[in-house]
């Protein structure tokens, strides 16, 4: 098995992507869809939480997209949560299983997981910033014993914009993590906290010496 990055670096040009097949598409919010992609059989993604790939829609263009699946859950396939905002993302939102896209990467620096070991974690996400953070959260949950307390703060504009609702439900049910959700434009059904995600900061109990705080935010 070769890694995707080795394949990309060995290509005649660094700009040439590797073909990947869309195997599943799920609508996760009004804005985002979750795409499950498969690389050619002899390649694995081999990424770190927080890294991104360059996604090519052939005939349209290329865009950087965060990898939202954790390394612990990206064996035969990996996931990209994509908000429909530009030329490339508009077209991929129309694509279904079986279609071929181009992938290069993974690029960027991942979260320094090794430094997190044995420490308490405060993980903060706003809006579609949850896409890269979910990769880290699921990695942490899959090797939960390696870390101390885990607190997650997640804020969005309106309740309809929460991504990965099924997983959020699972996270709330777990006793070994704390999840705090907040919205700044609540609808009638919302009976929890209102405000920006930073509203929660004064209420979070941290012991500064042992906590690390990776955070991600859109843009």
């Amino acid at each position: 098995m070769k890694t995707l990055l080795e394949e990309v670096r060995n290509n005649e040009s660094i700009y040439v992507p590797v073909p990947a097949r869309i195997v599943k598409v799920e609508t996760i919010t009004v804005l985002e869809k979750l795409f499950t992609l498969a690389l050619p059989n002899d390649l694995n993604l081999s990424h770190e939480p927080g890294q991104f790939v360059q996604l090519t829609v052939f005939g349209v263009g290329e865009a950087p997209i965060s990898i939202t699946s954790s390394p612990s859950r990206s064996h035969d396939t990996f996931e990209l949560a994509i908000r429909k905002v530009g030329a490339v993302t508009k077209v991929i939102h129309e694509m279904g299983p079986g279609r071929i896209v181009g992938i290069r990467g993974p690029f960027g620096r991942g979260f320094p997981l090794a430094c997190f070991r044995g420490k308490d974690l405060l993980l903060v996400a706003g809006g579609c910033g949850m896409a890269p953070l979910r990769s880290l959260i699921n990695q942490v949950l899959d090797e939960r014993g390696n870390y101390g307390n885990v607190q997650i703060l997640y804020g969005v504009k309106s309740p309809t914009e929460f991504m990965f609702k099924d997983e959020l439900r699972l996270w709330t049910q777990r006793s070994d993590i704390e999840l705090h959700l907040i919205v700044d434009a609540p609808d009638l059904g919302w009976d929890a906290r209102v405000g920006y995600v930073s509203t929660l900061f004064p209420e979070v109990k941290v012991i500064p010496a042992i906590r690390l705080r990776p955070s991600s935010a859109p843009q």
Binding site: N11, E12, S13, I14, Y15, F58, G59, V85, G86
Partner: protein, 378 residues
């Protein structure tokens, strides 16, 4: 006194005299009468670019004979940047179903003739930029198949040039394969690489430089310095800190108010390389091509991201970014100031924004601020 001090601190500003036996073997002379034969000999073996007259100006283009070229020292509005990083370059072709993805790499053996000293330093910076991190084959393959034949500038090429202040009025030894000095009726060839030596050794008619030739060359280079003036009020080594500490200067607002955001400064700059990626498909939507095209940080859309937010919406912010890139960021990342003092941007700017005026204005304000600070001390 101050001038001497600056010259000492400015890299590449001294003449390298031709003294030792090893040096002597590095120098050859060719009469101008035979120079055309050498160019023809080159064109039979290489794709040759050279400065050609075009619309009353000069531009690097494909040369078939020496008569196509003009080696007079008028400034060329565009540097030979486009020979190494074309303004529009095909990166790869594909079928829109994702099959038959085929890289397009240009590996044609190439010679660029008549590269000015400032542009040699710009290529020196490009070589550093494009060798960082991931291998960028499109530049590297083209560059490794390209020989640089420099030409010594014997007088300043334009009103706006300030190469001597930037330490780029002498050739970049890591860059040129051959470097020519005009001795009147002959060119003196300095060999800078093994490949350059082959261009001299394999052509009949080159003569090893004699002691007299070396004296003539030294004299020409010595007199050259009389016409090159220092125009920067500070030393080039002060620029990274000067501009880096001026991020809150009101001068950027002043430049933003007159800037037309046309992007011409970045197009003509020999060290600007920012690019955009464009896809083109055929009418049946089955065949596609991906191109790299020159972009410009001065265009309002440059820093606009998906969702519509623009990180540098104001022209002032874009001008500041441009000068930060030149004076500070390139120095931090690559150990070289990103401006080589060619002055092309100042010549091209319809609003008369010039790097030398900008650097000197920031220096003046810094000095004024320092004097005020001294004055307020108890």
């Amino acid at each position: 006194m101050q001038q001497t001090d600056r010259a000492r601190r400015t890299p590449h500003s001294t003449i390298r005299p031709l003294r030792t036996a090893e040096d002597a073997s590095s120098f050859h002379v060719l009469s101008k009468a035979k120079f055309g034969d050498w160019v023809t000999w080159l064109t039979q073996r290489y794709r040759v670019f050279g400065p050609k007259p075009a619309d009353g100006q000069y531009s690097y283009g494909i040369v078939k004979t020496a008569a196509d070229m003009d080696f007079t020292r008028a400034q060329k509005p565009l540097s030979p940047k486009k020979c190494l990083l074309p303004s529009r370059e095909l990166l790869y072709t594909y079928e829109t179903n994702g099959e038959r993805v085929q890289a397009v790499i240009d590996s044609v053996p190439t010679v660029i003739l008549g590269v000015d000293t400032c542009d040699q330093h710009a290529i020196r910076l490009f070589d550093r930029i494009f060798s960082h991190g991931f291998t960028e084959q499109h530049y590297q393959v083209r560059r490794s198949n390209t020989l640089i034949v420099g030409l010594e500038c014997l007088r300043p090429c334009g009103e706006q040039s300030f190469c001597h202040s930037m330490g780029t009025s002498s050739p970049a030894t890591e860059v040129f394969d051959l470097h020519l000095v005009d001795l009147g009726d002959e060119y003196c060839f300095e060999i800078g690489s093994i490949r350059g030596r082959q261009l001299v050794a394999e052509f009949r008619g080159m003569l090893a430089a004699s002691h007299t030739d070396s004296q003539r060359r030294d004299a020409v280079l010595h007199h050259k310095l009389d016409s090159f003036k220092h125009r920067l009020d500070c030393d080039v080594t002060e620029l990274p800190d000067l501009v880096g500490n001026a991020s809150k200067s009101s001068h950027w607002q002043e430049l933003g108010e007159i800037c037309l955001a046309c992007g011409m400064c970045t197009q003509v700059c020999p060290t600007c390389y920012c690019f955009n990626i464009e896809d083109h498909v055929d009418l049946r939507l089955t065949q596609g091509s991906r191109y790299r095209t020159w972009d410009s940080c001065q265009i309002s859309e440059f820093a606009t991201v998906a969702g519509g937010h623009n990180f540098r919406e104001k022209r002032a912010a874009r001008q500041r970014h441009r000068f930060m890139r030149k004076a500070k960021y390139q120095y931090d990342a690559n150990g070289m100031v990103g401006c080589v003092g060619c002055g092309r941007c100042a010549t091209a700017c319809l609003a008369h924004i010039s790097p030398i005026k900008t650097f000197n204005e920031l220096w003046r304000r810094k000095k004024v601020a320092e004097r005020l600070q001294v004055g307020t001390r108890p």
